[in-house]
């Protein structure tokens, strides 16, 4: 009995994210646009998930909900054992601060602040002293290979370097989850590979849970699990290799099918 309950608790704690029938509609000028039609998705600690889907399929909308930056219109979202819809704005801020590290497509570093202070900022909001925050920020910069860049300003760094700073900032407060919406979207292929290697290393070595949105199958291939969205619903949820293979087949069929029909006419 005792064994059973601890195991159940263990299993509970292994679940990081639980999304149950989440719907989201936007209301603009009295017109309601449904975007998510009922998404179900759950994730264990230590997983590396890639989300793919056509433009407008609702990937960013889902990521915003997962990141507690936006609330679902309907359905339930549990993060790290907490019912997110029950939390106030201030509690959500604390939850984001402690639980989630964000990596954005456009890096989103604060100008006017040194790289070190940018990385230290989540700790400052967590109430850590400035000296300690800076010390840990430097450590984290070391970790992403930018140890010597702490005193520079963001605009003095290349895109790839800025994105690595953003990753350092996402990791500095040691959150259980990293959310990355198209982190390689503004980077060239070579730099993308660097960033993805870094994220993969974090997942393998530090068992860091990561959810990543991307358009590129090459990027998604770094993940272990793939979720495909289509028109606000989950189209595929399974191993990344299988999912990507399936995508390739679909694409090939389309490319082969089209010329064939053109020829017949």
């Amino acid at each position: 009995m005792l064994m059973d309950s601890t195991r159940a608790q263990d299993a509970m704690q292994r679940v990081l994210i639980d999304v149950i029938d989440v719907k989201k509609s936007y209301v603009t000028n009295l017109v309601t646009t449904p975007v998510l039609h009922g998404v179900n998705f759950s994730m264990q600690r230590g997983e590396f998930v890639a989300i793919m889907g056509q433009s407008g399929s609702g990937k960013s909308t889902l990521m915003n909900i997962l990141g507690c930056l936006d609330t679902p219109s309907d359905g339930e979202y549990r993060l790290d054992g907490k019912q997110v819809s029950a939390l106030s704005r201030a509690q959500l801020a604390v939850l984001r601060n402690k639980t989630i590290g964000f990596v954005f497509q456009s890096f989103n570093l604060l100008k006017r602040m040194t790289i070190q202070d940018n990385v230290a900022l989540p700790l400052i909001y967590a109430g850590v002293s400035r000296a300690e925050a800076r010390r840990r920020a430097s450590q984290q910069l070391e970790n992403v290979g930018l140890g010597e860049y702490g005193q520079r300003q963001p605009n003095q760094l290349s895109g790839g370097q800025q994105q690595r700073v953003a990753i350092a900032r996402a990791l500095v407060a040691d959150p259980p989850l990293v959310l990355a919406d198209e982190p390689t979207g503004n980077l060239d292929t070579k730099t993308s590979v660097e960033i993805m290697s870094l994220l993969t290393r974090l997942n393998r070595e530090a068992k860091q849970s990561i959810i990543l949105v991307t358009h590129e199958p090459d990027v998604a291939a770094y993940a272990s699990r793939l979720v495909r969205l289509k028109d606000g619903l989950v189209l595929y949820d399974g191993p990344a290799a299988t999912g990507l293979q399936q995508m390739r087949t679909e694409q090939l069929e389309q490319e082969l099918g089209m010329p064939a029909s053109e020829v017949s006419e």
């Binding site: 915003n64 930056l69 936006d70 801020a93 604390v94 601060n97 964000f102 604060l110 909001y125």
Partner: protein, 407 residues
């Protein structure tokens, strides 16, 4: 998030756009400077008046003849000069009076050797030294014997003594007043302006008897120009004025329904009027200051609203990584307060500079006191809170998703 950190960020934000910050601060700077100057001028006027009263002596009144209002009395007595040495003595005997001195004034040429000067010569009695707080820098003052025997002695003001004698000792020297020989027996130590003598440093005091005999020709022999009297206490001034009116009406045989043939001037009242004028001036300056502070505050509010809009994305990023609405509110509120406090300090510095410039002219003394600095600092902080709150609150209410989408 700690306040020191927020302040550091506020200053960084201010420095990010220095010209704009400076222009925004201008209204508050002008406002604070004029409020501080207002307080300094208010204090300055009060000090100026207090100093004059101290030079003159306190609780003093002046009795002048005033025949304009009583042609009937003039016709009956056949004179125009109604106050006499005997009136002064009668006033001196009143129980409410600490001392009373008769005064005869003349503007005369003073000569020592080849040096000439023009000065006001005042014929008076020894009591004048007591009731006017006159101090001697050298020698002795006028004595009762000097007055009764009409001695040809004079006490000089500090400046006139320097003018005539330069660095030599004037005591015992002989000077000429309107070509008549007088011996200098004393030099005054007092400085400043007095209501009836002008610059105390420029005065020459002689016994009233000597003045009457040698310097001033009056229509009746015992007439005086006016009488200065001091009451025993500050509260007793009004009582003394009533007593004086009573004794003079009696002595001048004025009938109950006739008006007075003299006029009592209360220096305390004049001082109070001066103070009231000073207060009025200070109030006007304060009003100008208040208006420019309000206008400046609106300017701050405007620029903070612009700043919130400009930094929407920054707000989104901060919220995403863990800034609570209250953190955002404090950040913008403290930025507004910091702008106002820096403006306040600059305003105080400017007003101190202006006060120093005014003081350098030597005409008027302006001191920017601790009270003024404290009031100005608190006031500018308050403006920051008042006009910074709305923009800060607006920033704190922004939704993180929308901020992050903002270009």
């Amino acid at each position: 998030m700690k306040f020191g950190h927020i302040f550091a960020e506020a200053f960084r934000a201010m420095l990010a756009n220095p010209l704009r910050t400076m222009l925004t601060m201008l209204g508050i700077i002008i406002g604070i400077a004029s409020v501080v100057l207002m307080l300094a001028i208010g204090d300055g006027i009060k000090k100026f008046i207090d100093k004059q009263l101290a030079v003159l002596g306190s609780n003093l009144i002046l009795v002048q003849s005033d025949t304009r209002k009583s042609p009937g009395a003039r016709a009956r007595t056949g004179t125009t000069q109604t106050l006499t040495i005997d009136d002064a003595e009668a006033i001196n005997r009143l129980s409410s009076v600490a001392g009373a001195v008769p005064v005869l004034n003349t503007f005369s040429q003073i000569a020592y050797g080849n040096t000439n000067a023009n000065a006001q010569v005042q014929g008076t009695t020894s009591a004048t030294f007591v009731i006017r707080n006159l101090r001697l820098g050298a020698g002795i003052g006028l004595s009762e014997v000097d007055v009764t025997s009409a001695s040809r002695v004079a006490v000089l003001g500090k400046k006139i003594a320097e003018e005539l004698f330069y660095k030599n000792d004037p005591i015992g020297q002989s000077i000429r007043i309107d070509n008549q020989s007088f011996q200098v027996i004393g030099v005054l130590d007092n400085e400043g302006q007095s209501f009836d003598m002008g610059d105390v440093g420029q005065i020459v005091l002689v016994p009233i008897s000597t003045a009457r005999v040698s310097l001033v020709r009056m229509q009746t022999p015992r007439s005086v120009a006016y009488i200065v009297a001091q009451s025993k206490t500050a509260e007793g001034v009004n009582e003394m004025v009533r007593d004086i009116e009573e004794v003079l009406r009696d002595r001048h045989r004025i009938r109950a329904d006739d008006p007075d043939d003299f006029r009592v001037v209360n220096f305390g009242e004049i001082a109070k009027q001066g103070e009231a004028i000073g207060k009025g001036l200070a109030f006007a300056l304060g009003f100008i200051g208040a208006v420019s502070l309000v206008v400046g505050g609106i300017g701050i509010m405007n620029i903070m609203l612009v700043s919130v809009t400009e930094r929407t994305r920054e707000i989104g990023i901060r919220m995403a990584i863990g800034a609570r609405p209250s953190d955002v509110l404090w950040q913008f509120l403290i930025e507004a307060i910091a702008i106002c406090l820096v403006s306040g300090i600059v305003g105080i510095a400017i007003s101190m500079g202006l006060a120093a410039a005014v003081n350098a002219t030597g005409m008027f003394e302006l001191t920017v006191g601790v009270r003024a600095i404290l009031i100005a600092t608190l006031f500018s902080g308050f403006i920051g809170v008042f006009f910074g709150f709305y923009p800060a609150r607006r920033a704190s209410k922004l939704q993180p998703v929308e901020c992050l989408r903002y270009e």
